[in-house]
């Protein structure tokens, strides 16, 4: 196994982590499996393309603009689509399982992508102002670009920062309170709507940053870049243990490593077979993910 392979696995794992962190944040707090997350990432990438190609912003600004754009898109999803449907649902029917967000977020993703296609006509783009990230560093036989470093650092810092915020700050406490019990949190003076919009915004903003970095890393932005990541995001978040950021990080790098190594020795279809086969086995051995808490079922199965 070459050192390049490990480097590639680490970069890929960081991409997965950047994508999955925002996904986990929303799932952990609101039990919403946001199938629009891929589309939101794509939206961020395109906002970034506008800032980069048309406005000529330097890459730092582009990242901020893309984060705001994607964050706003995700907050819109929460405020205009998810919450009204949940309200409607709650008024007719109290407290049961709710699968509606799956369809609602999926549809929202389709709308975002459809409007993007309509606007950009499915043409693909590349980022131009990326000279700052193109610098290669050589460590012995290994060449690492400043872009690779930026992605790895970004992924780890953003995930670490987010866990700190959730664990230590007042804002994080508000999120945890709303996650636990919406009614109780509002009785304690937390405004659940503000908290959920903010959480969705942060989640979307991370997806936007991910979109720009992926766009630069892969030298291409088109309307399908989110599709592939969505499936893996879905998988990583679950295998990590739903809602656990540390578990998500472990799962992201683990999946990337399995995938990269398998890819070096087998053809692509076999790679997916190995990745998903491993996944199935992992869940059979650890039914609540790598770091997941015991589910409701724990007592019934008498483990």
């Amino acid at each position: 196994m070459s050192i390049d392979l490990i480097k590639n696995a680490i970069v890929l794992g960081s991409v997965y982590l950047l994508f999955a962190t925002g996904f986990t944040l929303v799932f952990g707090s609101f039990k919403v499996m946001n199938l629009a997350h891929g589309a939101i990432m794509t939206l961020g990438a395109f906002v970034g393309i506008y800032a980069d190609n048309v406005l000529g912003f330097p890459i730092g600004f582009t990242l901020v603009v893309a984060a705001i754009g994607a964050g706003a898109g995700n907050a819109f999803l929460d405020a205009v689509i998810l919450r009204p449907i949940a309200r409607q649902s709650a008024s007719t029917h109290a407290g049961a399982e709710d699968l509606n967000p799956i369809v609602a977020t999926l549809s929202f993703g389709t709308i975002v992508l459809g409007l993007l296609v309509q606007t950009v006509k499915a043409v693909d783009f590349t980022y131009k102002q990326t000279d700052a990230l193109a610098k290669p560093f050589a460590f012995g036989g290994l060449t690492v670009s400043s872009l690779d470093l930026a992605i790895v650092v970004c992924a780890i810092v953003m995930t670490g920062l987010l866990s700190l915020i959730i664990a230590k700050t007042r804002a994080g406490m508000a999120v945890r309170a709303v996650a636990e019990d919406r009614a109780m949190a509002s009785a304690l003076g937390v405004r659940p709507n503000v908290v959920s919009a903010a959480t969705f915004f942060v989640s979307g903003a991370m997806a936007g940053v991910c979109g720009v970095l992926v766009g630069i890393l892969y030298s291409n932005v088109n309307v399908t870049i989110g599709d592939h990541l969505l499936l893996f995001g879905f998988v990583i978040v679950t295998v990590g243990g739903l809602g656990s950021l540390t578990g998500t990080a472990i799962a992201a790098y683990l999946v990337a490593l399995v995938q990269t190594i398998a890819n070096a020795y087998f053809q692509a279809a076999a790679v997916d077979l190995i990745v998903f086969g491993t996944l199935l086995l992992t869940l059979l051995i650890r039914p609540n993910g790598i770091l997941g808490k015991n589910a409701l079922s724990a007592g019934i199965a008498r483990r």
Binding site: N8, V117, A264
Partner: protein
């Protein structure tokens, strides 16, 4: 139950037929004949870049034809209309829409689909329903032409790969090591990879293959593998966005091989995005944008005006497909039937076309007869390549 549904359907069908029969009478001067075609293209999903361009080409062709029906349809009271539907990404939807077209007598032929899996399912259907099907873009080629009602407008993928790799080897005779990067979950790509591999080996080159999902844009491992194998040339069979991605990712790590590809590599956006990185590459494709025929000049200018960009292979295929149907209709007097149209299409020989080298003929099994157009990239410009 079965009968009652049949009855409802018949009623509905006759109602539609009635409306269809009456409407043209109302809207057109007497003696006018509107020829209706059904279009099926995928406008969402990973291959939407094909469908959207093909749709633009088809619409443009109908406009051009209807401006001069005497010339294109052989009768000035004729006109051509294309009812284009979004076939989505599934065989189910493509088939449901195709069954609709086939069930409605006013549609003379179906143009499309633009996805290989849909083409593989629609071929046998069209043959059974006896409605001409003109498959626009499917590198699965031969395998899609299920019978005498099914036609392939696009070059067979194997042939394109062979032509491209062979032309490359003729130009760069001492090639020792060649690489192939392809999506192993895509029918066309697998054929292309096998064929390119055979051609490179026949020219004495050692071949390194690397496969990844067709939709993947992460070429880091592929490029590392190619770099380690020290290949001089890489055959890239992916879609246009992926080609941009692969070429730029290689350039970023200081790896600058030459490339061979097909239509996806000749897309204007690819050349715009990658700068000079494709310099020296060879492309075998259906469409040569620099083709200096009046037909192509007319097409290129009209397309630029309509779409504000240069046409790519898929736009040209959409345009050419409609033109081929018009050409076949031209030879048919009166009101053409589907069977007549199929026969006339099969007889197409040296018809004026924007594809290939300016003329188009079908083989005995209704695939493209003319050889692929060969292009080379000089700097960031596409130039014809004449060995």
């Amino acid at each position: 139950m079965k009968q009652s549904i049949g009855l409802v359907q018949q009623l509905r069908r006759s109602a539609i037929a009635l409306v269809a029969a009456v409407l043209p009478l109302l809207s057109l001067p007497s003696g006018a004949q509107e020829l209706q075609l059904g279009g099926l293209v995928s406008l969402d999903g990973p291959a939407s870049f094909v469908g959207i361009a093909a749709q633009a080409g088809m619409k443009l062709a109908a406009e051009v034809i209807n401006k001069d029906p005497q010339r294109y349809l052989g009768n000035k009271s004729r006109s051509l209309a294309i009812d284009i539907r979004n076939a989505g990404a599934t065989n189910s939807q493509a088939l449901a829409l195709a069954r609709d077209f086939a069930g409605d007598a006013k549609y003379l032929a179906i143009l499309g689909p633009s996805l290989s899996p849909q083409a593989l399912a629609l071929g046998p259907f069209a043959q059974q329903a006896t409605i001409p099907l003109l498959i626009m873009h499917s590198p699965a080629g031969d395998r899609t032409v299920a019978g005498n009602y099914v036609f392939a407008i696009a070059q067979d993928g194997e042939r394109l790969a062979d032509a491209g790799a062979s032309a490359y080897l003729k130009k760069y005779k001492d090639t020792k090591r060649a690489g192939i990067v392809f999506g192993s979950d895509n029918q066309g790509n697998v054929l292309i990879a096998n064929s390119a591999s055979k051609a490179f080996k026949a020219g004495g080159a050692e071949v390194t293959q690397f496969s990844l999902p067709f939709s993947s844009l992460d070429f880091s491992n592929a490029i590392d593998t190619m770099k380690r194998a020290n290949v001089e040339v890489i055959y890239l069979g992916q879609g246009s966005p992926a080609i941009t991605a692969a070429v730029q990712q290689a350039e970023r790590v200081g790896f600058k091989p030459r490339y061979v590809g097909y239509g996806t590599m000749a897309a204007p956006t690819v050349l715009k995005n990658v700068g000079n990185a494709l310099d020296g590459s060879i492309i075998a494709t259906d469409y040569d944008p620099s083709l200096a025929t009046p037909a192509n000049q007319l097409f290129t200018e009209a397309y630029r005006k309509a779409a504000n960009t240069d046409p790519d292979t898929y736009a040209a295929q959409g345009y050419a497909t409609v033109m081929l149907v018009a050409n076949a209709i031209k030879s048919l007097p009166g009101v053409p039937t589907r069977a007549q149209l199929a026969t006339a299409l099969a007889a197409t020989s040296n018809a004026e076309s924007v594809l290939g080298s300016g003329t188009f003929s079908f083989t005995d099994i209704r695939t493209v007869a003319s050889p692929p157009a060969l292009l080379q990239v000089v700097g960031s410009e596409l130039k014809p390549y004449r060995p």
